[in-house]
Subunit: 258 residues, 2 copies
DNA sequence: CCAGCGTTTCCACTAAGTGGAATTAGGGGG
DNA sequence: CCCCCTAATTCCACTTAGTGGAAACGCTGG
């Protein structure tokens, strides 16, 4: 038997840890409280295993037990780890202040995101508002990769193989308008290649324009600028795109100098 | 042998998962990039084990590999989980908007925090600034429990046994000014019991006042109000304390109605 | 090209984890 | 008040998945 013996502590990673993380991932906006049964269903893990792993996660401070409901919630630890991530992000550190300044100067929203599986997650999202007292930052929010300018810019920035892998996943997910959607995505990608940016109106009345940021040794990021309460027009997209290209160039310059 | 056989899938939790979480925890503000060796040192785990677990964490999307430095960084996933936590927090959902309004009305900083081990972590921290354009929210930031009004209010709010456990930990940590510090902490706790709040100037020039929020079935939280560029005075502390008590009462009312 | 160091892989060993079945705990409803 | 019903937890025979010291590997700077 030529097949070499596969040892358990092997290359494919630690099963329990993987499963524990998957449990944490089962909580997301809109799913704030989960019992062991529901977790088992969502993750496909056996009930007894879930019971043991949730116990561990509670002991480690990642979950809070809601005894009254026989359920769990994400604990405060997860945001302190999240905070550490933002704090340690070299890209956000380098250009966060510039993003805020740019938002004020151009009077539009500026965001920075990267991928989490098939979603884009905002590292920072500065919402411009003339009444500046309103909330301005949403970090950690997810938006779908296929449907947003951010996601498509990201797709344009990553390696061929990874891109095709993701496109296949989108195909599998949305059985419906797949053909049109994928064509749309590819158009956006081509737009990035040609003009440096792509424009998408994912939500009605908001025009978003995004561009990838590719740096060796770091994940690919995407920068975007957006405006609410406007109609999508080529002219406007072009204008914002020009701002974005200029801003991204400045950012890359700063980032190149570590 | 009376000792019942202890089975491995036992009550004490899953070892690998615990260790994986400990690795994530090793990253914190100021420690943004860690190699396997450094992780092994900080966590006390054997190098080969760390190597396997970090691989798993990369596969699960919790860590990014920085190949150039043979090191890892927290990945974007952690902030999306953090975001889910904030989104799902019933307390933050119930009183977040009120906190913002209160900050504007009273012209001071308003914060909400809870414990992560021996640290307090902000779920929300609204920094009042007359020039409202400045950044306003810091979620996930940690401050030491023993030294802050937030932490001492928390200590006043939790059960006796847990409080004593924590106090013992503080004693072990800061070998130095322990006696005075612990007395100080107990004074603050008594202040909470008597007046509903305690006042501490942890950072020079900022006066912070905090009160616990205790709800059945949820972790204990602490609310605080603070002001920069002031001297600590009993009068001022009393004034802010009164505001805080009033505000906390309103919050508890809202929270009581789920 | 080699030396030195940190990382990854190997592998014998077995404790640690697994999951189906049995048990227990909770919490309405009769 | 007690009894069901549901869902979570514990039990435990089984064995695989994980462990960690040692060896191999692969950078990087001299």
């Amino acid at each position: 038997m030529a097949q070499a013996r596969r040892y358990a502590g092997g290359v494919d990673g630690n099963r329990s840890l993987e499963r524990g993380i998957e449990i944490l991932r089962a909580f997301r906006p809109g799913v704030d409280t989960l019992g062991n049964g529901e977790i088992a269903e969502r993750t496909g893990l056996p009930r007894s295993t879930v019971s043991r792993l949730t116990r561990t996660l509670v002991n480690s401070g990642m979950l809070d037990e809601v005894r009254a409901m026989r359920a769990y919630r994400l604990a405060a630890s997860v945001i302190s780890i999240g905070h550490a991530m933002r704090t340690g992000s070299p890209v956000l550190n380098a250009i966060g202040a510039m993003m805020r300044a740019e938002s004020a100067k151009r009077r539009l929203n500026v965001g920075l995101a990267t991928a989490d599986r098939t979603m884009m997650v905002y590292l920072e999202s500065i919402r411009y508002s003339p009444r500046a007292a309103l909330r301005n930052v949403v970090a950690g929010q997810q938006v779908p990769m296929e449907l947003t300018s951010l996601g498509r810019a990201y797709l344009a920035g990553i390696a061929e193989a990874e891109r095709e892998r993701l496109l296949k996943l989108f195909k599998r997910r949305s059985a419906a308008a797949t053909k049109a959607l994928l064509a749309d995505v590819r158009t956006s990608i081509r737009s990035v290649e040609r003009n440096g940016y792509c424009a998408v109106s994912w939500q009605p009345g908001v025009l978003a324009v995004a561009t990838p940021i590719v740096l060796g040794g770091l994940p690919v990021y995407a920068l975007n600028m957006s405006l609410q309460n406007v109609d999508r027009s080529e002219a406007l997209a072009g204008e914002i795109g020009a701002y974005l290209n200029a801003f991204a160039a400045k950012c890359k310059e700063v980032l190149a100098g570590q």
